[in-house]
Amino acid sequence: MTETLQANLISLEEKLNEIDSQISKFKQISADEGIKLNEVVEILERRKLQLLDELDAWQKTLIARHKDRPLACDYINGIFTNFTPMCGDRHIMDDHAIVAGMAYLEGRPVVIVAQDKGRTTEEKVLRNFGMPHPEGYRKALRVMKFAEKFNRPIITFIDTPGAYPGIEAEERGQALAIAENLREMSQLAVPIIAVVIGEGGSGGALALSIADRILMLKYSIYSVISPEGCASILFRDAGKAPLAAAALKLTADDLYGFAIIDQIINEPAGGSHRDPKSTIENVKAALISNLDDLCRVDKNELLNGRYKKFRNMGVFCSFDN
């Protein structure tokens, strides 16, 4: 089913590619023949942007999950220097769905905690498609407490379909592991920045997102449930995922409008996979400026600010019964 729904994105990509090739063809002609075709090129560029403006929530969902979309490790390699992984939850296993360690951001020592889905089939299996087990959350928490002890800011990269739903995960306290991360992150006395780079899947994403700043790539999503899950439960038809995607208001624009996130990081037309390098540069710039802001804030103010930030999330009313 997802495949038929994917057709949607493929046809978009085809159109974009077609326009792109036309643009370069006309540019070529323009150069070779000395004819001014600027107007044609402009029209095509405008058509392209129009197509992208019209992207609906479901198309953005597909872009957020695009197989060529840059993954956490691409950002880590592209943005930081001397990344040195730290492994293990000190109990059961090193969960490869979580990548964590020390690194420098333009000379600033920071601690990174990231979800990575894996690129190749092998990597995907190793990283369990970016779905952490409880041990992944405990590894993340251990490394974040390390960051707190040594007063290093924390940067998290969010990209997960959700916490892994499996027998062992339930047996070993998946819910508890997530809950503890939520509680502990709210009290970590160092700046925390979370960047949603792809799929922000439910509690499994939230468990690394109790941050002072939440940034989102333009075509990433962040949601209480996957559109497919929502469709099958509330719409009683998993095929209605596009409808559910729209209803859930899970795009960066939506969430920025709700003041749930703090900043949208720009992506190239059509998605970051069409130009990873520029996206990585955008993320880097956003990280630096946010980090520099946060590092100026005193510790108590930081913690109070973080508390208030999440304290104020939620829209409710008062009835006169």
Partner: protein, 283 residues
Amino acid sequence: MGWFSKLLVPDREKSKVPQGLWEKCPGCQRVIYKKDLEKNLWVCAQCGYHFKISARDRIDSLVEPGSFKEMNSNIGSLDPLEFTDTEKYCDRYKKARDKSKMNDACLTGTAMLGKNKAAIAVMDFFFMGGSMGAALGEKITLMTEFATENRLPLIIVSTSGGARMQEGIFSLMQMAKTSAALARHAKAGLMFISVLVDPTTGGVTASYSMLGDIIIAEPNALICFAGPRVIEQTIRQKLPEGFQRSEFLLKHGIIDMVVPRSEMHDKLEFILDFINSGERAVE
């Protein structure tokens, strides 16, 4: 999260086969005189099956009679997403309010257990499957903050189908909000007892429900993050017998104790006594 609101229709409604004065026990299939059930706190005298009960009935069974003082009762959810599935969320919500005479899926307030005053929040599965929206999150948070400010122990009785999907990201963020409030309560050295009843699933499990200094479950309650059907779909395997039930969680070290409904009040009172009694050893 949220997978459950479809799967779990409140038992009492489902099993309303013998209308009126009688109730069929989903545990042993016996038909029981309703008044007897009520007297027995809605636990089957034959097989020990724990029927789902409303938040009000639960409070009656837990605290000293007449001691519950409700707070923040008028808080309700809005519809920030203007969400519609097969029905408009605002309509669905209004129906739930009308039917339950509650404004959302929990009651909060203070109450006495023996000589101990406690802040208490009790969820209600009959209100939209105990799903967690902004109103529920706000009420839990307010009660937790009240407990912190007044140095009170906190008791939360959870039962939930998970997130209230119709409130989208706002629903998800209640996990963060409640957990942060509990962090402050814990840091103040105060006691939080989490009581889990059938079913406690999804986002509620993955936030405040699992953060108790003591975690107690009623017998045979389903307690999970991902529901059994989701897991079955993922791993394409039959799940083991008793999987995700209270006793299973006890064995796997996740909860402290399994306590039948009839003993819950005494157990809670014991714990509060233990914490409050006498002078503390070292000050």
